[in-house]
């Protein structure tokens, strides 16, 4: 199997693109695709000040790296869920990336906010860890972005994440979610950040190959809670279709994006009476959680600044984030 570009021995076969590439040409190909996605869907403008949500995993660290290479320099936000060693190792990987890229990384720590990690909070709240984690992360990432003066929040959701979530939403026609998962969600005013997913069209396998071939050190373990049986089932099923019909996943989510644009805009969420951030109820889930379990007066965010911090955007953002 030869590299389609240079003719040398290929390292990776990409059936969805009916091609095979050597390591170097794959890296270039992958980076180009991400940049094309950013441009085609207007995810990040040159004037934007982006923040990347990083977990320490392959997707978010690769995304941060590519944004750096492609001229979209970004700081990062890491949410420490207090899941024992997993959270520690994940943050080490994220900090190492920050040092490599010479960018600032922020950390919200659940144990610092609540004196409890996700597991204990989940038990006390009688709510599944993944559901709890979902809304806490969404809230904190949005606040870090808005309060820090960043204009867009980028996440590492990949093609397999999106296709499997879409399949689940379609199988049960979950109308509250179905048409809300787009590659870009516009922000509103000074309380809701614009959110974008530059890896929307990149498969999990491609993102892993990129991280490995690019030498990005990431946490290999999956979050102990994130191995949700349904998501894995859907990913597996879609990969079975993909085997028989390459490029199915990408056609599936691209077709969906077209439908989303044709759908009416979703009703706006209101704003929380306490914190002013988006909420469908009078008081948002996060404020209610914080009222019950929070310690201290407000959100504590830590900022890590590696030696030789890039000075492109040395403004007041970091200091005034909360």
């Amino acid at each position: 199997m030869k590299c389609r570009v240079c003719g040398k021995e290929a390292s990776i076969r990409l059936t969805a693109y009916n091609t095979a590439l050597c390591a170097d040409d794959f890296l270039a190909f992958f980076e180009k695709r991400v940049v094309q996605t950013i441009q085609k869907y207007n995810l990040i403008e040159k004037s934007d000040v982006p923040l990347v949500a990083v977990s320490g995993g392959k997707d978010s660290l690769s995304l941060w790296h590519i944004m750096h290479l492609a001229g979209y320099p970004a700081d990062a936000i890491y949410i420490d869920l207090g899941i024992g060693e997993y959270s520690q190792v994940s943050f080490e990987k994220a900090k190492a990336a920050a040092a490599r890229l010479k960018r600032r990384i922020y950390r919200f720590s659940m144990p610092a906010l609540f004196e409890k990690g996700l597991e204990e909070l989940s038990r006390k709240m009688k709510r599944a860890p993944c559901s709890l984690c979902g809304f806490i992360k969404r809230y904190l990432m949005n606040r870090a972005c808005v309060d820090g003066g960043y204009t867009v929040l980028a996440t590492g959701h990949n093609l397999d994440d999106e296709a499997s979530a879409l399949l689940g939403n379609l199988l049960y026609w979950k109308e509250d979610y179905l048409w809300r998962k787009s590659i870009a969600l516009e922000g509103r005013g000074a309380y809701l950040a614009k959110k974008v997913k530059p890896f929307f069209l990149c498969s999990e396998r491609e993102a892993a190959a990129y991280a490995i071939l690019r030498g990005i050190d990431y946490v290999y373990e999956e979050c102990p809670y994130s191995v949700d049986a349904k998501t894995l089932l859907y990913k597996g099923l879609l990969n079975k279709v993909e085997e028989v019909s390459p490029a199915t996943k990408i056609r599936f989510v691209k077709g969906y994006l077209k439908q989303v644009r044709e759908q009416e805009t979703q009703a706006d969420a209101g704003r929380c009476a306490r914190c002013g951030y988006p909420s469908y109820a009078e008081v948002c889930n996060f404020c209610r959680l914080f009222e019950r379990f929070g310690i201290g007066d407000g959100l504590q965010i830590e900022s890590y600044e590696p030696a030789g911090l890039s000075s492109i955007d040395e403004d007041s953002r970091g200091a005034g984030i909360v």
Copy 2:
């Protein structure tokens, strides 16, 4: 495992309904569900004169049987595709059902129309057998219904057929097909029959169990062409989800039906300049096929009338069908 109704030993477990039933109670349950579907979705009115499309398989023969039991007496149309012994055996099963129900059955025969069976025609036309079969059957069934004075055409498409087709249409967002597959499609004037699918919410497994437990003799073999790899793949994948989450298939198609009602009505097809039946082109596919390969002056339909033919609707329908 006990029957939920009578407490005797159960014969069939229905995870989608979280129940188990003995043979007799399953038969009653299944028949009731079909009748409820007919009523809830207004598939067949008491004043309708229905025609059932039968293939000799479990779905269509069970449907014909239940319609008979439930006070929707119907004649049937069988399309003989000239697929060797398979077609012969299938028609024998369908004729046996006609004799049992004392109803008329019509037959269109491809070899009689074209002097060729599906295989030869497919080769000559350089078109896949299933695609060719699809449009020929649709055309002939519609004509048999309209010309025969029937007011509604019922087909035996089951839940698995619909869910797998829907999954395929969603994975590739086939907009030309996606929103057109409903449980009932209204007819138009005297050229397009109303079409209904009373088994839309009944699984393949349930339909097979019904036929077996009711003693309906059907052709066990699948059509040698119909074993389409994609359809089988999708059915298998959906059954995997169903194993983990019972009732997924039924929620999937029910949610879809709700969406269909919310979609705009599809653009009307036009009418063929030759035959006057529906066509998206000036001359319909069938007329072009018939011009090229047809023998004789027009469509030949045969009518089989079993001894003791039911006289409920002894009008002029049979004679004037073509």
